[in-house]
């Protein structure tokens, strides 16, 4: 099946967006670093379930996420802790804490797996949100491919910045030399415990927003209809509504 054709879109979809989404859908279906292809596609399914999950709605409304007990609306593939983490990332991300991640790690959801699931969840969500913003139907999920995850942890990753280990600013070397040149930022380092998670979201981000090179430009970009200030109005309002300090 050929994904993201946008044949029935009432709006012309900017060149570059559909190929980026198609490429990501291909990567989503393949075995990842710590999850199989079937698990990765199931994580994408949980992104969609989370948005209709009554327990998530009840928990979001509660003063503390630990004040309510219940079961998620979810599919059969994933472990309950993985499901809960995906649902939290999508519906209640601002109340994720170090203690939550440590508790998961002590009970079978390692920080490597947590980082990969965050990468899959947020990248799928950002593509789904593009379609929803335009009133277009969500793309069917891809058929998972067989195979085993690579189970690779970059040796230079260490703790000290956020809740999970990350590659330090001077650690983009060896297999990770492509992640950034010269300078980086914490948001780029955030998922580097699973370097492919960064590569995957950045490829989508380059098309949806700006590449790292483009971020240093403040005018209008070739092929884009929004100038930089208009772009930042949208970016700022979405971030502020989500109460994102970063």
């Amino acid at each position: 099946m050929s994904h993201y054709q946008y044949d029935n879109s009432p709006y012309p979809i900017r060149t570059g967006l559909a190929p980026a989404y198609q490429k990501y859908w291909g990567a989503l279906a393949r075995p990842g670093t710590w999850f199989s292809g079937a698990e990765r596609v199931a994580i994408a399914g949980e992104v969609r379930n989370a948005l209709n999950c009554p327990f998530c709605a009840e928990r979001k409304a509660a003063l503390s996420p630990y004040a309510v007990k219940g079961e998620h609306l979810c599919g059969p593939v994933l472990d309950a802790r993985v499901v809960d983490a995906v649902h939290r990332v999508i519906t209640d991300q601002s109340r994720i804490t170090q203690a939550y991640i440590d508790d998961n790690a002590a009970n079978g959801l390692s920080e490597e797996r947590y980082v990969e699931l965050v990468g899959v969840a947020v990248t799928v969500f950002s593509i789904d949100e593009f379609n929803r913003a335009l009133g277009l139907p969500l793309e069917p999920l891809p058929q998972a491919e067989a195979g085993n995850p690579e189970c690779y942890r970059p040796a230079q990753a260490k703790h000290g910045t956020g809740y999970v280990a990350m590659i330090p600013a001077d650690g983009a070397t060896g297999r990770e030399a492509d992640l950034w040149q010269h300078r980086t930022a914490n948001v780029l380092r955030a998922l580097t415990l699973v370097p492919n998670a960064v590569r995957e979201w950045m490829a989508v981000g380059d098309e949806q927003y700006l590449s790292m090179t483009g971020m240093a430009q403040f005018g209008t970009f070739p092929g884009r209809a929004l100038n930089r200030m208009q772009t930042e109005v949208v970016a700022g309002r979405v971030s502020s509504y989500n109460e994102c300090f970063y």
Binding site: V89, I90, V115, A121, E129, F130, A190, G236, E243, Y246
Partner: protein, 143 residues
């Protein structure tokens, strides 16, 4: 980045836009009110508001602007979740650049602000140096 963009392009922007203040939409950002409403509707997941905001932006600015705005909104729905799910603090450089902005927009009211310590005098001092330097650097890069 909005505030830096405005400074570099010497444009008039009321930053309260990002807090959803409709009275702040006057200025040099074309279609600011429609863009702000569209962004808010995407983030709030209010489908009626989204349909209305989408029509308004399409009518005012055209399909290409609408598609680009949807892409940027999708992107930042992701970025806020990466930041919050991993508990990253604001980088020291960005914290210095946004020192005044954090106060102006009262951004420390957000729960995720706890990941970034307030900073104090050193950061305030850095902000006085960092902002003009960044402005000069980006202007140079733009040439």
């Amino acid at each position: 980045m909005l505030s830096l963009s405005a400074e570099i392009t010497e444009s008039d922007v009321n930053l309260q836009l990002v807090n959803g203040d409709e009275s702040a939409t006057a200025g040099d950002v074309q279609h600011a009110a429609a863009l702000m409403k569209f962004a808010e509707a995407v983030a709030s997941r209010d489908e009626r508001a989204l349909a209305s905001a989408r029509s308004e932006l399409l009518e005012q600015a055209g399909a290409e602007v609408l598609v680009d705005a949807a892409a940027v909104a999708g992107n930042f729905q992701r970025m806020v979740r990466i930041a919050d799910s991993t508990g990253i603090p604001l980088d020291e450089r960005s914290a210095a650049l946004s020192y005044g902005l954090v106060k102006e927009l009262d951004l420390r009211r957000f729960a995720s602000a706890q990941n970034t310590p307030p900073g104090g005098f050193k950061r305030k001092l850095m902000s006085l140096i960092a902002r003009p330097m960044a402005k000069r650097l980006f202007k140079k890069l733009a040439k």
